[in-house]
């Protein structure tokens, strides 16, 4: 049994990213879509940390802090927006967001 190497982590990270992207495309509930988006960001975090660990370069870990901070700000604004939308329309389904079509 060998210890997991860089490519193991990268495969997981790529899987997470694709899973998130798939969810964004397929799911219809805005909250779930938002969770999938966070999944994509965390896939990037995992990739950064593993590159950082295996290349002996701490820059990647510092970058993860930036990403976590920015993602937190993004979630704060995003959830507020989704709550405002729910109050107005009583829905979180993207199919109901169609007042602006040609």
């Amino acid at each position: 049994m060998t210890a997991p190497g860089l490519h193991h982590y990268l495969v997981i990270s790529a899987l997470l990213f694709c899973l998130g992207l798939f969810g964004v495309i397929v799911r219809r509930n805005i909250l779930i879509i938002y969770m999938c988006l966070e999944l994509m960001l965390n896939a990037a975090n995992l990739a950064l940390v593993s590159f950082s660990r295996f290349n002996n370069n701490l820059d990647g870990q510092v970058m993860v802090f930036f990403i976590i901070t920015v993602a937190a700000a993004e979630v704060a604004v995003g959830l507020a927006l989704i709550v405002a939308l729910y109050r107005r329309r009583q829905t979180t389904d993207v199919h109901d967001l169609t007042t602006m079509k040609l």
Binding site: F17, I33, L37, A44, A47, R88, T99, M100
Partner: protein
């Protein structure tokens, strides 16, 4: 560490925080006027930026994350000018914002700070953080009219697409970091000069291109633009169209021509196809539109395509043409959106322009000039911008015949665009059914900003030499 290099950004942040405090002690009736305070403050900062000369040597701060050179200074002045015009527009718009007018202005200033940092980015982390500062401010700005469904819907759409583009960008940055071992642009230049065909690096840069493509609304990442442009409050639409797009452009220049030109050199075909499809998509989809802001949304997609023409030739003349085009685009769009802000109060439909030539000949003339400039007719700014871009790609024709096809596509796009731009002019002057003929009063600051826009359009169109020199000087920072 050299904090003093960031004095323009620091001044804008200080102005924003000061405004936030001032807003606490301002009576409600006077709050809309705070926009003039912000615009005056920015005008002072813009004047200050002219006090020091364009640095011939680039200087860096924050362990080489922040660079100050001619290109950065050009774009900082551009963003300051855009924010001043948008703030004056916002004061005209403020009666339609139910609460939090002060915060509306402050958020514009925060987005402006992000744009100014973006123009100085010299590291992929800086690219990410400054882009997020812009985008998160815009999430709030787009959905600021919470009582209006269109604004909320646009906000949620922008939120999802914006977060998706950040995810692409970040994953791309992670892959670039993994394969190159650095995120600094100088470091990346060294690495890519050695080995420009690392597949992981390519994938990473492709994802970065996708993330930035979202920001400038280039095909295939353009689907958010029409809805968001239509739903957002008009001044925010203007700032998105000018500021956010220019921030995406300066980052494209910094990353793809400043940091990894050896890779970009092998991607010319991709950039050419992207530019061509973006032009065709934007122009063809704009034809059936009846909503003014949505029409300008599609037109802004087409303009992203024209700007990509300049990127696809990968040389100094293409880039200076891009900068020139952006400067003309700023004045043109600011004029168009100021008029829309003043005229289209109930709906943004083109029919609301009926009788405008009688209600306010000044506004009618300004909107006509803006449409003529967007259409690319001499002697206005839009013509010379398009001329320079086409010239730069045709010059490259002997190297790669594909550029001739690209020039043909761009010309076709220009011809198509004339149709819908003139549809707007027809609605202003020839529309028979005009239900409401009450004259529109235009406040003095709005007159001033329209005047600046019109002078800008004519100046750039009639006396291109000076502005072109400035653009060339700015581009020389990229070292081709």
């Amino acid at each position: 560490m050299n904090f003093s290099l960031t004095y323009l950004e620091l001044a804008v942040v200080a102005l924003a925080l000061g405004l936030l405090l001032l807003e606490l002690w301002t009576p409600t009736a006077l709050k809309p006027k705070l926009g003039y305070v912000a615009a005056a403050g920015l005008a002072l900062i813009l004047g200050w930026s002219f006090a020091d000369t364009i640095p011939s040597e680039s200087a860096t701060a924050f362990s080489q994350m922040y660079v100050r050179d001619g290109l950065a200074l050009f774009f900082k002045r551009f963003f300051l000018m855009a924010a001043i015009l948008v703030l004056i527009m916002s004061v005209e718009f403020s009666d339609r914002i139910r609460m939090g007018v002060g915060e509306f202005y402050v958020l514009i200033l925060f987005a402006l700070t992000g744009m100014m940092f973006a123009s100085s980015a010299n590291d992929l982390i800086m690219v990410f953080v400054s882009l997020e500062l812009i985008t998160i401010s815009f999430y709030v700005l787009v959905s600021f009219q919470r009582s209006r469904m269109g604004s909320l819907e646009a906000g949620v759409k922008y939120l999802i697409m914006g977060a998706l583009s950040s995810a692409f960008l970040i994953f791309g940055i992670a892959l670039v970091f993994g394969s190159a071992g650095t995120t600094n642009f100088d470091g990346l230049l060294q690495v890519t000069k050695g080995a420009a065909d690392d597949k992981v690096l390519w994938l990473g840069l492709l994802l970065v291109l996708a993330g930035l493509g979202f920001k400038i609304a280039a095909f295939p990442f353009q689907m958010w633009a029409p809805d968001v442009y239509q739903g957002a409050p008009t001044p925010v639409t203007a700032f998105l169209a000018v500021g956010s797009k220019a921030a995406g452009i300066v980052l494209l220049l910094r990353v793809f021509l400043g940091a990894v030109p050896p890779v970009t050199g092998q991607w010319t075909k991709l950039l050419m196809v992207m530019a061509a499809i973006t032009i065709l998509y934007g122009n063809l989809c704009a034809i059936p539109q009846r909503n003014l802001k949505r029409l300008l949304g599609y037109s802004s997609i087409a303009n992203a395509g024209y700007l990509l023409l300049g990127l696809s030739v990968l040389n100094a003349s293409g880039c200076s043409a891009m900068l020139y085009y952006l400067a003309g685009y700023l004045f043109t769009l600011a004029a168009a959106f100021t008029v829309i802000c003043l005229v289209a109060r109930e709906s943004d439909d083109i029919s609301s322009l009926a009788g405008l030539s009688q209600r306010s000949p000044l506004l009618a003339a300004c909107l006509t000039l803006a449409m003529v400039s967007l259409g690319g007719i001499p002697p206005l700014a839009g013509f010379f911008g398009k001329f320079l871009l086409l010239k730069s790609i045709i010059e490259q024709g002997p190297v790669n015949p594909g550029y001739y096809c690209l020039a043909g596509t761009a010309l076709f796009g220009v011809v198509v665009s004339l149709y819908y731009y003139f549809g707007v002019i027809r609605a202003i002057y020839l529309s028979k059914e005009a239900p409401d003929l009450t004259p529109i009063t235009v406040s003095v600051p709005a007159r001033l900003s329209l005047g600046v826009c019109v002078i800008g359009m004519f100046y750039l169109g009639l006396f291109p030499q000076t502005a072109l020199l400035v653009a060339q000087e700015a581009v020389s920072a990229l070292k081709f």
